[in-house]
């Protein structure tokens, strides 16, 4: 069978970055994307941290169609009928190089596909890959409908559900405990209105994280990002928790309730809903990474479980770009050596370990166990809310000393054995 150098499955950030680099190296690359265009099946929260990826998209990242650079971080702690908000702004974030940008995937991925195409990669949309082709126990290409395309190496960048990694026996079926579902709504507002509302200069952006009552005690939270002339508003909820609710509330209902909170309405009021999207997110951290290679195939991006939730920051896109670039580098070497064996491809994992991808995943290996603690989503927001309520309250008669008030509320919620255990568990972060 005739073979191309490389087939890449999936037009997301990992696949497109791999295609860009392999084509730049002069390799014959075909990228297959099941949607209308690269990006059309992809969803982010989202924000991209650019510093880690500059070296993996050298030169071109500066021209990428990003939305707004984030200069302001807002954290909102919600209880059922109250909220507290912390706003952190840093003047240095207003100067280049900017640390992070908000991003929309249809635009961003479309741009990256163009760049890969300019280098000579064949990016083919509307092509769903159904299966892998095997030859003497090695991956030797793909099947899409009736078509078979042979390749010396396949890069599976087919997203969080990665059917290819499963078919290649690299990962087990996905477990509810390891995944969350993200739901996102896009609201259109004029750029000027966004800037006025959030106190931003033209081009500047804000990120707002919501914790507490958003998910009714389930694992997860809410987010809001400012784009050029839209807002990305959403929630993330653990699939296991959603499944095990005693009085089930639909995920869509949680999203609807969240968008009606006054703490959210103040931002989105008057906005027009443009899109309703959903996507799964791996929450398993380092524990959720499958085997990353087999004879003739590498796995990159979300397909490889590269996503990291640290509570205040959630990352995936940087890992996708870096792992796509690293996979391309190893694939290029393998093609030069004519050795696509698992033994040779093992250097992919080695290089990921030397990069921030597996290094960060490893450093934060135990974060998941800390974040799984339900008290973070129930007891602590409630404590915080009641503490502020008690400190601000003036009723009839004498007011207790502030310290005594605080101590009484803390006793009720956190000055106990459970609280002590929580504090100890934080060391793992």
């Amino acid at each position: 069978m005739d073979k191309v150098d490389a087939i890449i499955v999936g037009g997301g950030l990992a696949g497109l970055t791999a295609a860009y680099h392999l084509a730049s190296a002069g390799r014959q690359v075909i990228l297959l994307e099941r949607g209308d265009a690269p990006g059309s099946k992809n969803v982010t929260g989202g924000r991209l941290y650019v510093e880690p990826i500059r070296e993996y998209l050298p030169g071109i990242i500066a021209e990428a169609p990003l939305e707004r650079h984030v200069v302001k971080e807002i954290i909102t702690v919600l209880s059922d009928d109250a909220s507290a908000q912390l706003e952190y702004a840093n003047e240095s974030w207003r100067r280049e190089p900017y640390m992070s940008y908000t991003v929309l995937r249809a635009t961003f991925d479309g741009w990256l596909a163009e760049k890969a195409g300019e280098k000579g990669a064949f990016v083919i949309p509307k092509k769903k890959v159904d299966a892998l082709l095997w030859e003497d126990g090695r991956v030797a290409g793909i099947k899409a409908g009736d078509e078979e395309i042979g390749a010396h190496i396949v890069i599976a960048a087919d997203g969080a559900l990665s059917f290819l990694a499963e078919k290649a026996g690299l990962r087990k079926p996905l477990e509810p405990r390891s995944y969350a579902v993200g739901i996102k709504e896009i609201y259109h507002l004029d750029a000027g209105t966004i800037e006025d509302r959030f106190g931003l200069l033209p081009g500047e952006g804000a990120a707002n994280l919501f914790v507490g009552a958003v998910t009714r005690g389930m694992f997860g939270g809410g987010f809001l990002y400012t784009n050029r002339d839209t807002l990305s508003l959403g929630i993330v909820v653990g699939i296991d928790d959603l499944s095990k609710q005693k009085n089930p509330i639909a995920a869509s209902q949680l999203m609807e309730e969240f968008s009606h909170r006054p703490e959210v309405q103040r931002w989105i009021k008057g906005g027009t809903l443009k899109e309703y999207a959903a996507h799964v997110i791996s929450e398993a951290g380092a524990g959720g990474i499958p085997r990353l290679y087999t004879d003739g195939m590498l796995v990159a991006g979300d397909a490889a479980g590269f996503s990291l939730n640290l509570g205040l920051t959630v990352r995936g896109m940087e890992f996708a770009i870096a792992s796509g670039a690293i996979a391309a580098g190893v694939a290029d070497e393998a093609l030069t050596q004519g050795d696509m064996s698992a033994a040779f491809l093992a250097r992919y994992e080695q290089k990921l370990r030397e990069s921030f991808v597996l290094a960060d995943m490893e450093t934060f290996r135990h974060t998941r166990n800390v974040l799984e603690n339900k008290r973070l989503f129930t007891v602590y927001p409630q404590f915080f809310s009641e503490l502020l309520a008690a400190l601000f309250a003036i009723g009839p008669g004498k007011k207790e000393a502030l310290y005594a008030t605080a101590k009484a509320v803390a006793r009720k919620y956190i000055l106990n054995w459970e609280g002590c255990k929580d504090l100890l568990s934080m060391r793992k972060m």
């Binding site: 099946k41 509307k126 092509k127 769903k128 739901i183 309703y276 996507h279």
Partner: protein
Amino acid sequence: MKVEEKIALDAMKNDRVSHIQLDQKICAACPERMCIAVCPAHLYSLEETGEMMVEYAGCLECGSCQIACIHKSIDWNYPADGCGVQYRYG
């Protein structure tokens, strides 16, 4: 706003056949029916006949249902070439 109205805003190209197949025997014996709450598009429902239904046309292709269904009733594939949801923002 109802979730059906939200989904109606999305660009969708419907396939003629469903990309989601349920095993009604497994569904009939399922005590949890977690798919109903988990699906962000709220596409799963229990008919009066006792049969589980899924409105595949509004699927956002997140795959949450097949992860949640620990009884393995849901046979879920991506819709055919160029079909399904096409995110314009994402």
